[in-house]
Each structure stands twice: as C-alpha cells, then as structure tokens.
C-alpha cells in the first residue's frame, strides 16, 4: 500500500492538471464552436444537411396545375424524364432566401438548363408578382398550394432544389438557397457529369 502513496510533488502536479482540465475543455469547445461557425459561413457545414431519403430513388409521382397568367405549362412527374438532367426548384414569394438564389437560377436557365418550378404554399398572384420582379427561370411551373406534393418529395422548406438525372432518378438535393459557391462547386459539375 505504501508505494501507492503519491509524493507531494506528484500530488501538486495532479492538482494543477485538475485545475487546467476545465480550461482545456473550454478551449476545445471554443475551437469546435469556431470551426462550426466558420463552416456555416463558407457552407462546408450545414446543420440541416441531412441527406434526402429520396437520393438514388425515382422522383415521386405527381401532377400540379399551372400558374394562371404565367403562360407556363403545369408540371407532372412525366416532365422530369426529358432525356437530360433537370432541376426541380421549390420556391415561394414569401421566402427571403429564394430571392438570394434567384440570380443563380436565372443564370442556369440562360445556360440552357431546364429548371422546373414548384410554387410552394403561395397565393397565385404573389407568385406572379415574384416572377415579374425577379424574372422567370422556369421552363414549367406547378402550383402546390396545399403543400402535399412537397411532402412526397420530403421537403423541409423553401427554397429547396433537386437534381434529377436523365432517367428520372433524384441525384442531389439542396435544402436552402443555391448560392454562387454551391452552383460552382456542386450543381455545375454534377450537371456536366450527368449530361
């Protein structure tokens, strides 16, 4: 038993280590929190980035009526298998991040990418106003006022964008605005690969 008795200097060292332990924990926590915030800023870390359950599966079956007055045809599941990859974009006029991502959608449309829009829980006149203000990137536009089709897609909220490949399989999902970085780092390479 006597050999287990720590000598005083050892005990003092241990006491110092115990005093420093909370400091070390706080430091580690701080570093982790900093990394998280930085990731949030650059888009590397996304707390809502749970992958969609529909990745690798065919898009759900649906038929949505057109937006009256937009001049665009409505949208149904059959329109997704057009022989080339398409983007499906859920948006609403009441959604602020949708305004942020709209220029990226406009640019994709100018580049000839087919973007199919779904107006989520929005009054038709408000959707029309939104498109008049910000432009129309959509080749087709379905109206999902009750939000039921959105649930079949596993939608969290707006904006949300899905990439469907030639054969109608969902390949990619972005819950949140498609920023310039996401466009350059994810959407464009994926579209090129799947084309």
């Amino acid at each position: 038993m006597s050999e287990a008795v720590p000598n005083p200097s050892q005990a003092a060292w241990r006491r110092r280590a115990l005093l420093l332990a909370p400091l070390a924990v706080a430091g580690l926590g701080g570093a982790g929190f900093y990394a998280m915030l930085r990731g949030l800023g650059t888009g590397d870390y996304d707390p809502r980035g749970v992958p969609s359950a529909l990745i690798g599966k065919p898009a759900p079956d649906f038929t949505l009526p057109p937006l009256e007055g937009s001049g665009l045809p409505g949208l149904s599941a059959a329109d997704l298998t057009a022989g080339r990859p398409v983007l499906v974009n859920f948006f609403a006029s009441w959604c602020v991040p949708c305004v942020i991502e709209h220029p990226q959608l406009m640019r994709l449309a100018r580049d000839g990418i087919a973007i199919l829009g779904i107006a989520y829980k929005d009054k038709p006149e408000d959707s029309l106003g939104f498109l008049k203000r910000h432009g129309t990137p959509y080749a087709r536009l379905g109206v999902d006022q009750p939000g039921r089709v959105a649930i079949d897609w596993g939608l969290y909220g707006v904006p949300e964008t899905y990439l469907i490949d030639k054969s109608g399989i969902i390949r990619w999902r972005m819950a949140g605005p498609v920023t310039e970085e996401i466009l350059a780092q994810q959407v464009t390479p994926l579209l090129r690969r799947l084309a």
Partner: protein
C-alpha cells in the same frame, strides 16, 4: 415534512405532460381513440423544421401538414407502422425520433452502455488512487515549538 411532500409533487409534475400544439380543434379527429393513436404516432415523428420537437409539439407549418396526414391515414384505418413508414420513406431515418437500429446508428444506440462502462472504469480508477497524502516532515522550528509545548527539553 418536505420529504413527504416531495413524492406527490414529483408525481403531479410528471402527470402534467407536454403542452401539445394541436390547438386547432378542426385538426383533431372526432373519434377520441383514433385521435389518441394519431398523437402517439405524431410523438414519434420529428418536426424537420425545428428538429428537436415532435410534430405534435411543433407549431411549424410543415409539422401541421404532417399532423394532418397522420390523422387522415389513421382515419382511413391504416396501421401505425404503415403511417410511420409513409413519413419515413419521404424524410429518412432522421424523421424518426427513435431511429431504427442499423450499422449507421450502432454508436448512437450503444452510447448509453459505452458511457456507463466508461464511467464505471473511471470511478474504479479514482477509488484505487484515493489514498491520503503523506504529510510533510516537520521543520526544525516546528519540532522545537512542539517540544516546548510538551514541556520537554529541546532536542
């Protein structure tokens, strides 16, 4: 006295239960047994918008839509697991507040056992080490003072 009050108070607090967000009576099923079933199912489902609440507890729009879907399907006579599967197919494992046990979730489910085991090992280690510190040797001055108090001649 306080000890006698403690248990009844605890029981009363536990009996209160959570405040549910199903405030709109129009959303409730007329059949109380079905409504109760829908609530039990809804408490298993995460609100994807607020994430740490069930759809029964959440005021979010999406949670309300899911509550309605759950109630519709319960009213249609679908069994509980079919209703849960409907939502699970669309929203993935994350929507289930009790995630299924599979290789990806093994650490999650095993964590209580790992924590318990780790704690037990830690306690064992600390107990073994808890031995009194050897007191410092008396200094010459202290020994002198002690001798003086004891009334003995100096060493």
């Amino acid at each position: 006295m306080i000890r006698w009050l403690f248990l009844p108070m605890l029981a009363a607090m536990l009996a209160i239960g959570p405040a549910l967000a199903v405030g709109d009576p129009a959303d409730q099923l007329p059949n109380p047994a079905q409504e109760e079933r829908a609530r039990v199912i809804g408490r298993e489902l995460r609100c994807m918008v607020c994430q740490n609440q069930s759809i029964e507890d959440s005021d979010a729009d999406l949670a309300r839509d899911l509550r309605r879907i759950v109630r519709e399907q319960v009213a249609q006579g679908k069994p509980d697991d079919a209703v849960l599967r409907f939502v699970h197919e669309r929203y993935g494992d994350f929507v289930l507040l009790k995630p299924p046990f599979k290789p990806e979730t093994a650490i999650l489910w095993g964590m209580p056992a790992i924590a318990l085991l780790g704690g037990a090992l830690l306690i064992r280690g600390m107990r073994r080490r808890r031995v009194p510190l050897a007191p410092d040797e008396l200094t010459q001055a202290e020994r002198d003072r002690l001798a003086q108090l004891a009334g003995r001649p100096r060493e």
